[in-house]
C-alpha cells in the first residue's frame, strides 16, 4: 500500500507527466501513419483476391484481432531481434520506442485494412458504372470516384482506431519506454503515491481523448458535407 492520499500531489504531478505527452503522441503519429500504409497494402490482396497473399492477410488480421496487444508487443520486442539475427541484422541496440511503433503499426494496419476494404465495398457500384459510361478508366474511377467516398465512409472508424490506439500506447512502458505512463511508473516508485499518479494520468489521457474526439468530429462533418443530413445547412 502507498502513503495517505494527498490531492495536491495530483496538481503537482500533472505538469511533470504532461511533459511526456510528446513521446506518447510520437508513438501514436508514427504508428498510425505506418498503419495506414500497411492497411492499404493489406487491403489490396483482399480486394483483388490475390492468391496466397489474400490468405496471408486473412491470417494476419485474425491473429491481430485474436491476441492481446500486450502480447503482440512482447512478441515483437523479443521476436523481431531473434528473427533479424538469422539474417545477420543486429537490432539489440535499437531503442524500445521503435518496437512499440512497429507493434502498433502492425496492429493498426490490420484494423485499417478491414476498414478500408469495407469502405471501398460500401461505395455505390452504380457510380463506378457511371464513371465507366462517361469513358473513365478503372484507375481514374478508383482515384476520382471511389476513393474520395471510401475515405469519408472509413473516417469515423479510423478516428475510433486513433483514439483507441492513443490509449493503447500506455502499454509501451512495459518494455521500458519513457512515455507518460513510463514516467508515471517511475513517479510511483519514487513517491509511493500511486493513486495520485493514476488520477493525474487519467486526467491527461481523458483531456487528450476529448480534444481528439472534438477535432476528429469536426473533420468528419467536413467530409460529410455532401451527405443528406447536411441538406438544410448547405441548401
Amino acid at each position: 500500500m502507498g502513503k495517505a492520499f494527498d490531492p495536491s500531489l495530483i496538481i503537482e504531478f500533472i505538469p511533470t507527466l504532461f511533459h511526456y505527452l510528446g513521446v506518447t503522441l510520437q508513438i501514436l503519429a508514427a504508428s498510425i501513419f505506418l498503419g495506414l500504409i500497411l492497411g492499404v497494402a493489406a487491403a489490396i490482396p483482399r480486394m483483388f483476391k490475390i492468391p496466397i497473399l489474400n490468405q496471408l492477410v486473412i491470417l494476419y488480421v485474425s491473429f491481430i484481432r485474436g491476441t492481446p496487444i500486450l502480447i503482440q508487443l512482447f512478441l515483437v520486442f523479443y521476436g523481431l531481434p531473434a528473427v533479424l539475427q538469422i539474417i545477420k541484422i543486429d537490432v539489440s541496440k535499437l531503442e524500445a520506442i521503435y518496437f512499440v511503433i512497429i507493434t502498433y503499426a502492425i496492429s493498426n494496419g490490420a484494423g485499417f485494412s478491414e476498414i478500408f476494404r469495407g469502405a471501398i465495398r460500401a461505395v455505390d457500384k452504380g457510380q463506378t458504372e457511371a464513371a465507366y459510361s462517361v469513358g473513365m478508366t478503372s484507375t481514374q474511377n478508383f482515384f476520382r470516384i471511389v476513393m474520395p467516398q471510401a475515405l469519408r465512409i472509413a473516417f469515423p472508424n479510423v478516428a475510433n482506431s486513433v483514439i483507441g490506439s492513443l490509449k493503447d500506447t500506455s502499454l509501451a512502458f512495459t518494455i521500458g519506454v519513457m512515455d507518460m505512463m513510463g514516467r508515471g511508473d517511475t513517479l510511483i516508485s519514487a513517491t509511493a503515491h500511486a493513486l495520485e499518479v493514476y488520477i493525474s494520468l487519467s486526467i491527461i489521457y481523458y483531456s487528450v481523448v476529448l480534444l481528439f474526439e472534438k477535432t476528429l468530429g469536426k473533420l468528419e462533418k467536413y467530409f460529410n458535407r455532401y451527405q443528406k443530413a447536411d441538406l438544410s445547412a448547405a441548401a
Binding site: 452504380g126 457510380q127 457511371a130 464513371a131 462517361v134 470516384i145 467516398q149 455532401y226 451527405q227 441548401a235
Partner: protein
C-alpha cells in the same frame, strides 16, 4: 450509326441475349419494350461494354469491335462513343451538379477545364438546372437528379445516348419533367436508344419501337405498327397486359 451483329450474352449458362442483330441510323430514336428479364438492360450494357458480350460484333460510329477479341483499350474506345442514363441516376455523390457533368469531359475527354465548365453550364441550362449548379445530388429531387444524369450524358456529345428506364425509379409526379427533357433532346437529332415502360412516351418520340422477349427482338416497327397492329401474339399480349384494354383509344382519335 450503330450496328450490332449476333450479340450473345449468357449469365451462369442461361442465355440472356440470343444473337441480337440491330442497325440504328444516325439521329434515330429507338425505344425498346419488353417484359422484365427479357434482356433489355443487358443489351444496352453490351452496347457500352459494361457487360462484355460473349460473341458478336458491335459498331458505333467509326469504331468496330469484335466482342470475342475485344481488348481493354478497344472497349474503352467504343465506350467513349456512347453515354448512358441510368435507372437510379448513379450520380457521383461527392460532386456537385456542375462537377458531375464536367467530370467526364475533363477526365475522359481531356477537355480544358474552362471549356468543360462552359459546355456543362450550357447543357445544365437546357435541362432546367441552371440554378442548381453547386448543389450536391443528395439535395435534389429524383427528377432533378435524373436531369443531371441526362445532362452528364449530353455534355459528352456522344454518338448515341442509352437510356435504361430513366423514369421508372421516379415518383409519378416527377416523371413528366424528365420525359419532357428527353423529348426535347430527341427532337434535336441525337441518336437515342431508350428502354422504357412509358407507352405514350414511346409512341410519341420513337422513330422505331423494338419489342424484346426472351433474349431476342421479337418484333420491330414504327410506333403505329407496334402499338396498333402488332404482328406477333407475344407483342400483343405484352401491350395488353401493361396498358389494360382501355388505354389504347381507337386509331381514328389518335391520328390527329
Amino acid at each position: 450509326m450503330i450496328n450490332l451483329k449476333g450479340i450473345k450474352k449468357s449469365f451462369n449458362k442461361s442465355e440472356v441475349l440470343k444473337g441480337i442483330n440491330l442497325k440504328i441510323e444516325k439521329g434515330e430514336v429507338v425505344t425498346i419494350l419488353g417484359p422484365s428479364g427479357s434482356g433489355k438492360t443487358t443489351l444496352l450494357r453490351c452496347l457500352n461494354f459494361l457487360e462484355k458480350p460473349d460473341g458478336g460484333m458491335v459498331q458505333i460510329g467509326n469504331i468496330k469491335v469484335d466482342t470475342e477479341k475485344a481488348t481493354k483499350k478497344e472497349m474503352l474506345t467504343i465506350r467513349k462513343q456512347s453515354a448512358m442514363v441510368f435507372q437510379h441516376y448513379n450520380l457521383f455523390a461527392h460532386k456537385t451538379v456542375l462537377q458531375n457533368v464536367m467530370e467526364g469531359l475533363i477526365v475522359a475527354k481531356r477537355v480544358k477545364k474552362k471549356d468543360a465548365r462552359y459546355r456543362s453550364e450550357l447543357v445544365l441550362e437546357k435541362v432546367g438546372l441552371k440554378d442548381k449548379l453547386h448543389h450536391y445530388p443528395s439535395q435534389l429531387s429524383g427528377g432533378q437528379q435524373q436531369r443531371v444524369g441526362i445532362a452528364r450524358a449530353l455534355a459528352l456529345n456522344p454518338e448515341v445516348i442509352l437510356f435504361d428506364e430513366p423514369t421508372s425509379a421516379l415518383d409519378p409526379e416527377l416523371v413528366g419533367e424528365v420525359l419532357s427533357v428527353i423529348k426535347t433532346i430527341a427532337k434535336e437529332g441525337i441518336t437515342m436508344v431508350v428502354v422504357t415502360h412509358e407507352m405514350s412516351f414511346a409512341r410519341e418520340v420513337s422513330d422505331r419501337v423494338l419489342f424484346m422477349d426472351g433474349g431476342v427482338i421479337v418484333e420491330e416497327g414504327t410506333p403505329l405498327e407496334i402499338f396498333h397492329a402488332p404482328k406477333e401474339e407475344r407483342t400483343r399480349r405484352f401491350l395488353q397486359r401493361i396498358s389494360g384494354d382501355s388505354f389504347f383509344p381507337p386509331l381514328k382519335e389518335r391520328v390527329n
